[in-house]
Symmetry: D2
Subunit: 355 residues, 4 copies
Amino acid sequence: MTNPRLPIPVAVLGATGAVGQTFVRLLAGHPWFELAEVAASERSAGRAYADVTKWIEGDMPTAIAGMTVKACDPSVVSAPIVFSALDSHVAGEVEAAFAAAGRLVLSNAKNYRMAPDVPLVIPEVNADHLALLDLQRAGRGWAGGIVTNANCAATMAAVALAPLHAAFGARRVFVATMQAVSGAGYPGVPSLDILGNVIPYIGDEEPKLEREMQKMLGVVGTGGVTDAPFAVSAHANRVAVENGHTVCLSVEFEREPSLDDAARALREWTGAPVVRGLPTAPDVPLHFFTSDDRPQPRRDVMRGRGMTVSVGRLRRDPLFHLKFVAMGHNTIRGAAGGSILNAELLVATGRTGVA
Amino acid sequence: MTNPRLPIPVAVLGATGAVGQTFVRLLAGHPWFELAEVAASERSAGRAYADVTKWIEGDMPTAIAGMTVKACDPSVVSAPIVFSALDSHVAGEVEAAFAAAGRLVLSNAKNYRMAPDVPLVIPEVNADHLALLDLQRAGRGWAGGIVTNANCAATMAAVALAPLHAAFGARRVFVATMQAVSGAGYPGVPSLDILGNVIPYIGDEEPKLEREMQKMLGVVGTGGVTDAPFAVSAHANRVAVENGHTVCLSVEFEREPSLDDAARALREWTGAPVVRGLPTAPDVPLHFFTSDDRPQPRRDVMRGRGMTVSVGRLRRDPLFHLKFVAMGHNTIRGAAGGSILNAELLVATGRTGVA
Amino acid sequence: MTNPRLPIPVAVLGATGAVGQTFVRLLAGHPWFELAEVAASERSAGRAYADVTKWIEGDMPTAIAGMTVKACDPSVVSAPIVFSALDSHVAGEVEAAFAAAGRLVLSNAKNYRMAPDVPLVIPEVNADHLALLDLQRAGRGWAGGIVTNANCAATMAAVALAPLHAAFGARRVFVATMQAVSGAGYPGVPSLDILGNVIPYIGDEEPKLEREMQKMLGVVGTGGVTDAPFAVSAHANRVAVENGHTVCLSVEFEREPSLDDAARALREWTGAPVVRGLPTAPDVPLHFFTSDDRPQPRRDVMRGRGMTVSVGRLRRDPLFHLKFVAMGHNTIRGAAGGSILNAELLVATGRTGVA
Amino acid sequence: MTNPRLPIPVAVLGATGAVGQTFVRLLAGHPWFELAEVAASERSAGRAYADVTKWIEGDMPTAIAGMTVKACDPSVVSAPIVFSALDSHVAGEVEAAFAAAGRLVLSNAKNYRMAPDVPLVIPEVNADHLALLDLQRAGRGWAGGIVTNANCAATMAAVALAPLHAAFGARRVFVATMQAVSGAGYPGVPSLDILGNVIPYIGDEEPKLEREMQKMLGVVGTGGVTDAPFAVSAHANRVAVENGHTVCLSVEFEREPSLDDAARALREWTGAPVVRGLPTAPDVPLHFFTSDDRPQPRRDVMRGRGMTVSVGRLRRDPLFHLKFVAMGHNTIRGAAGGSILNAELLVATGRTGVA
């Protein structure tokens, strides 16, 4: 990819928060994108990024520290591609404004995920869903558009389920999650709540887990996406882990697979070919373990620089057909890294209007 | 209960390990039982208890520190009631020897749990299963007998399921556990394995979870126990919690209950009346939470001095009928405390032959 | 103590926060004090305690849940004894108002600790410092008065140092602390900051550690307290512990003690006799360990219902004379429990004007 | 460095344990060294490395998995450079045998650290101490030799102290450590001992901290090393951190420095020039923080790929002159990485006799 117009200037909306910082960190040194602008709430706007940001992991990239924070307004942010780490209570309006102003918005917020004309994309799983952008532009009259990525735990489950659903047709899916504290942002979960503890509840998490996978694994057509015809039941739990959501799954299929066939499907899956070689794409999108006690968040979360989903413990289920465990990095694969990969996919498929 | 023959001398087999220590701790000051003997492996026998035991919680009761450890042999241990914290690779033979020698063995080991003539008892749930002792004595020619308690995680699930199964008939049960490190004994789980981590595997745990509940919730008759006719699928995970196993359940019933009816069944359940008032019985065997985010191990594990099982997050399940969470103290309710309560039940029901 | 005027009604100021909740918890069922009023900031006043309080440990005492929160104003709070868990930015003014209005204020805030006419008291260590109240009333014209307790980490260090200072005269004291997250209140330390981590900094903690001990171990006379003539250097660290501050000390004395003499001083110290038997006083104010690896916060923090300070690892110091470790419960002995014991001491010594 | 004889074959002794695994991990892809042999105890010898090793971090390098483990015997291990991760109870004899057999032994064991003719080296601090090898060979008649690296916590303290000692002359040094569980190897610290806890004791750690720094910061002459003339008092603690030892220091100097002068000395120190550019040498051996709350193990431990020691919180000490905090990766800088850097220094300075 030797594009004379690279690098493309990009902006991060909500750049001072935890997910926003992950965008800033992952975009430092990106071969295609240059982080040209950071934007945040009114009370941060006009001040230096380093002065309004409590940086929480590693060192703040020096090029960003002195950058003046802008307001989240398309009239002051000029980048053609914007990554949104906005809270859902403001994301709806702001993202629409950027899309209307001709920008491509890569969003982590939940607001538009389930909109019929908005792609909810994990590139390796459903790159073809980007076709919804045409529907979106036609229907909303936007020059730009919004592409969303899924809830972080739903992402891990969807990657693990993708090859099995493709081969055997998922019908019923039971998921129980053990989610890292970084999923709650910063300051997020108080230490008094989680040290030596499990919190068997994460607000608004189970509904996302119970509906987003069907859209991602659905079939896109001219009229939109037809959801995959399976039902999901989710138990969401918070555990004392820094990074990495672990998901236990039990799945019933249309056609019961043998353990060998299921293992092969998982092992051989490499995702949509168009994704391969993109800067943020991992060599292996799904790593399949045969050892008893993996994946584990602390040991496996950085596989593929945080972009690989690890799957293991494949075994028979006494009620459904198969049981297994999926785990991946919630703020990289499940948030900022996933958004950046979505943007790369847009560039690579010529959908940016800029590359 | 003013019995002139009280206190009854009791012994702990495997007294130096983690579960053995919990027995020693809980028996200190017991109103009916006097810990008269401690027994352990050959290499500890003949030495002072304090010299062969790395005590792991609180202070060692002073009365026990100087006690000479005996061998696990009914010819040198004379107590009529023995609590077994033995490892399963020795429990089979040793417990049988004690039972043959006329002792009542209250066992935490898995060896006899599934034997058709051995009661697997949570007193509040299936006190009537003690009737199996007659079958056991008749069939094996033992003067004493063995009463077992269940796997620690299965215990929490069974208590939560008991009132719902009684009212609505469980048909299919999903359980996903998050289990405390104390369940693995001492030294048990290396800190490098669990700090900031989840281990999605506990050796031999899922099979126990998938079969012990059906026996406990089964119906006892003259010929033995007829298992409860439901199937279980289990996911067992280890988390960075000291004490307290948390279990997520999804259950399908014969008769779908309303949420209100299910809540009432949980809230009003008080267990077998014969258990009430026993020294180790909690005032409330099942505490039902209506708040969003409970039970939690660190905050709720000591409810009822570790003998209460806490249940909460009752809600509809998109696949089955109900979802909920159960949590309890794995080394108290799920092990030593449960065994002691079993012994108290034997005494209270005149089944000891000694009281 | 059979006082016909007992129980005495008491109030907690700042009752909704972490320390305030500890007061509420410890006062439930107190034999002398009846928690009659709870007060907090303006935005909580007028509402039910349960509605404005996120309760963080165990269950909220039912008697308190429905109590209407009052404003922190002596004209609406009528209890003669008030426990202050106020933040330091409001404690100064509010506590003075209560003292002026004739109330006895037992304060956890730092505002008045170092005032020459305000007692800074650990009852077992310097009960006689209460004599400062006369000076305080005379000088300030207050009908009531303020009695403070020390910084939580300074409390553990001062109790450990008290018997040694009395016997050998401390000259230089080096302290390095490892402090529990509960010391920062709730929500307090974000979990992302402390899981798998150490934070070698606690704002404004080292200055307190470097000056409060000298006052507490000082000599009270008619003109006030003459500070103990030793200097302190402190390193304060936050660690992933729920409750219990651990303090490493190296001390140089006027008269170098032998290890045996120092051990005897620690072992035999029982504190001021007037404290013995007070409801909140532990049987043993200082527990001395001879084993290698104690005290430890998780194992020893609840000793004496959280009121005992545990000391161990006494050994020679290559630079100074002795090294040792002290540990105690920061929100009980180091905060609310210490304040309640101070109040009991006032009652027992007839200094309340109310009992 | 384009040496035609590179890569040099190397071996790891004690390759199956935690430190041994770190050697294996760090040597994978090393530009100068090729891991040609792994050796361990008799019971592992003759078996495949993957079959006798419970790998604890990341993935086992595939090239090593199938390698046959050898005995720790110079007659079967042929590499000219051997890295020793042996336990101290066997290291003494085995390392001497290899040195006698003409091999260069880079040892993590404590056995020879304090021997007057054995270099105890942190390359940036005392590269010139390698001159002791001549004395060692002459005195012991060894064709090879032993070079040791220090206790992991002493290493962090020594790096932080080096520039200050060089400039101002350390006289008295207090250190209080908070050490990661990985320092105890695997399985090492049981999780029941450290979750939510601090253990204020690490066997045999304080003596090493109290004597190794003086040798490393000493002056080498023809007759050996003259220890630096300062005294050290150490408090060693274990905390719930995976990797990274944090050390609080208070130091008195011959010449009291201003804070500015001390900060400049720390900031400008780059260590022995001969080390710069070695494959394992970090760009910055000592990173100096000016922010309040750094260094922190989780956030800073991987600085310089685990080879940089982070120093911060420089401030006045009320008893001595300066207080500060040092932190570094205990199994990389403080163990395997330090040994490998020592080996690189030997090669770069022509002391191997092999390159």
